[in-house]
């Protein structure tokens, strides 16, 4: 299935892109999407314990199962204000 991955702040810089289109096996979770990113961009591994994720612009658990066409965003620790 096809998913759009969105990245922010330092994760965006590590990937060199704010958006990535990727094919994932049916039944993949947001965590599976993250693992494919880490395989592609090993420097992201350090963020494994501290990221948040959002599916279709809603905060979601990493265990959330993705569907074809979903957008999954990975968020490093935030620093607004």
């Amino acid at each position: 299935m096809h998913v759009n991955i969105r990245l922010f702040a330092r994760l965006r810089e590590l990937a060199g892109a704010a958006e990535l289109a990727r094919q994932l096996p049916e039944g993949s979770s947001a965590h599976d999407a993250w693992n494919t990113l880490v395989a592609e961009f090993p420097a992201m591994k350090d963020y494994g314990g501290s990221i948040s994720c959002a599916v279709n612009e809603e905060y979601s658990r990493l265990s959330t199962l993705l569907r074809n066409g979903d957008e999954v965003a990975f968020l490093p620790p935030v620093s607004g204000g």
């Binding site: 969105r6 922010f8 702040a9 330092r10 965006r12 810089e13 501290s50 990221i51 948040s52 959002a54 612009e57 809603e58 905060y59 965003a73 968020l75 490093p76 620790p77 935030v78 620093s79 607004g80 204000g81």
Partner: protein, 177 residues
Amino acid sequence: MRPGSAPARGRSTISGGYTEQMAAFHVTAAPLDVQAVAGLVTRDSDGAVATFVGLVRDHNAGRAVRWLDYEAFAPLAVKTFEQIAGEAAAQWPDTRLAIHHRTGRVAIGEASVAIAAASPHRGHAFAACRYAIERVKQIAPIWKHEHFEGGEVWIEGATADPADDTARAAALERACT
């Protein structure tokens, strides 16, 4: 959360580029106007509006800061502001919030965030305003890219988890002490 239906007191003093149609929850690259933000939530039954303006300061962690670049996941940030306002309304009935946050390059001394909390009672307005900025720092999908003398660094604070009751309780405690 919606701005009050009664005419807002502060409208006649609204300045800058804001319009009366401006949303209470907003992410923008334009300069912030706290007076206008207050006008979005204040109504005739209110006895107080507490405002908070976060500023970009010229130093951080021993570094001389030149400016900050803010990045946001804007649609999720707006939803997060709405959630924070809902939490505050549950805690302090009759209290309304407006939250505006800058993106892009923000110079030293400029406002990065403007929050207004309006209520019939000043105690609730103060508490809700403090609660809101604590929650923004905890869960809003916004990031500071600090440009300082000699380099740049992404500031990374809390792992955002809107469902984390421990973080929410910590924000409430700070608001009420």
